[in-house]
């Protein structure tokens, strides 16, 4: 057995803190490019004007290092831990939590977390984050910080369909979810869809689907076709930027699928606003 690569938890704190700030200040190039293309394609003058304001907002936020949106989110963190990596100097979960605390403090980000969903007192430092763990091969640590705002998360939905409802049932549920949401989740949206697995697996797939770069093709040709049709059907709803009417309601639909039970067809729809914020580091 060889020597394990080591990584100090203090590095994890610093990197997580930086990712929290960067994710909230700077939109990724693929998101900016998608908003730019939407502006070219939108037929509503009001819609085009709103998309131009979103571009201005993104430049201003990056330049002045202020948040793109005041809802700097509940901090969702996807972590991939290489099984050959040895962490030193503390617990990884505590290090990520400390990084969130530090990033939200130093970045003047809003503290939007209540410690108990029924008692509802603010924790004051935006912790705890929601962490999704994955153990992978290798000796690296990959951290993706995804601040998730409530406006779009609140309009997300999950349904356990009957297998007989099939592909059309899935598509109709996705379109209906966007239609019911209307202006609330801040369209134009990125729509993450998870199909299959169990209830919680479908929900997690829907969130993971949001992280695929915008403009990239789904490697599964069946799902790629489903995505194309869903984008067209969603944009035919007429909701438009900010719900004021227009032909660009979705910037993209991303679908992930997983094997499921002979008697199940779970489908989850995770809506994200136009400000699809995420930053990743590999240590």
């Amino acid at each position: 057995m060889g020597f394990l690569r080591t990584l100090d938890c203090q590095t994890v704190v610093e990197v997580t803190s930086r990712l929290c700030r960067e994710a909230n200040f700077v939109l990724e190039p693929d998101v900016l490019s998608a908003i730019g293309q939407a502006k070219e394609r939108e037929v509503s003058p009001t819609g085009r004007d709103i998309l131009a304001q979103l571009e201005d907002n993104a430049s201003l936020a990056a330049r002045d290092r202020i948040p793109i949106c005041q809802d700097t989110g509940l901090t969702v963190v996807f972590v991939e831990v290489g099984q050959d990596l040895r962490l030193t100097g503390g617990s990884l979960e505590e290090a990520i939590t400390a990084g969130v605390r530090d990033g939200y403090q130093k970045g003047y980000l809003r503290k939007s977390v209540v410690g108990h969903p029924l008692v509802r007192e603010n924790t004051g430092d935006n912790t705890p984050p929601v962490i999704h763990w994955r153990l992978v091969s290798g000796d690296r640590l990959k951290i993706s910080v995804v601040p998730k705002g409530a406006g779009s998360e609140n309009m997300s939905a999950l349904k356990m369909l009957k297998p007989a409802e099939g592909l059309e049932g899935v598509k109709q549920f996705v379109v209906d979810t966007v239609s019911v949401a209307g202006p609330n989740p801040c369209p134009p949206l990125v729509v993450g869809v998870g199909i299959g697995g169990t209830m919680e697996k479908a929900a997690l797939l829907a969130k993971e689907a949001l992280l695929r770069p915008l403009g990239s093709a789904n490697p599964d040709p069946v799902l790629a076709e489903v995505e194309r049709e869903l984008v067209d059907r969603i944009n035919a709803l007429g909701i438009g930027p900010m719900g004021l009417g227009g032909r660009i309601t979705a910037l993209a639909v991303h679908v992930l699928a997983f094997p499921t039970h002979i008697a199940m067809l779970p489908v989850a729809v995770n809506l994200n606003c136009h400000a699809l914020r995420h930053k990743t580091a590999v240590l």
Binding site: V43, S44, P45, T46, D49, I50, Q53, L54, D56, N57, A58, L60, A61, D64, R65, I66, P67, I68, C69, Q70, D71, T72, Y108, L109, R110, K111, S112, R120, N122, G124, A150, G151, N154, G182, P183, N184, C186, R233, N235, A236, L237, G238, I239, G240, M242, G243, L244, G245, G246, R247, C273, H274, A275
Partner: protein, 186 residues
Amino acid sequence: MSDPRRIVLPLTDEMVAELRAGDRVLINGRLLTARDAAHKKMVALLQQGGRLPVDLKNQVIYYVGPTPAPPGRVIGACGPTTSGRMDAYTPALLATGLKGMIGKGFRAPEVIEALRRHRAVYFAAVGGAGALLSRCVKAAQVVAYPELGPEAVHELIVTDFPVVVINDIYGGDLYREGRRQYAVHQ
């Protein structure tokens, strides 16, 4: 798109009567902020027969929880939050003389009916444009419920704060009308 009209608060009945769904408006003057927790407290106070910590007569409430102001700035990002969460509380506040609200997203039918009854208007600002909107805020201070942190009631002095009328007193609804105009029937 017509040119935006500039208005100076407070909002009077006469001004409300002139606003129609779809109008773009630049708001100037003093806004009050309140969201979930402040609404809950204010309505509880009214139910107990108490007096509100701020007078809402002819005022406009902006549904926002800003990010903390970094050094050298008046306020952080300050875009609108989803209005529907305030629906349960809104008719009670309209009854005290509140004349306008700024947020984003659908209002409940009871709120739309209360807007007509109390002659008030619902505006939307661009959601997710928190950095851009912060430039319209010239001064900010907490005026009630400081213990609520980002949910405290702030007074904001704004210049040419851009909004659009969603629901007017005549039953106009821009979300419904805009969508109808651009929907493609398949």
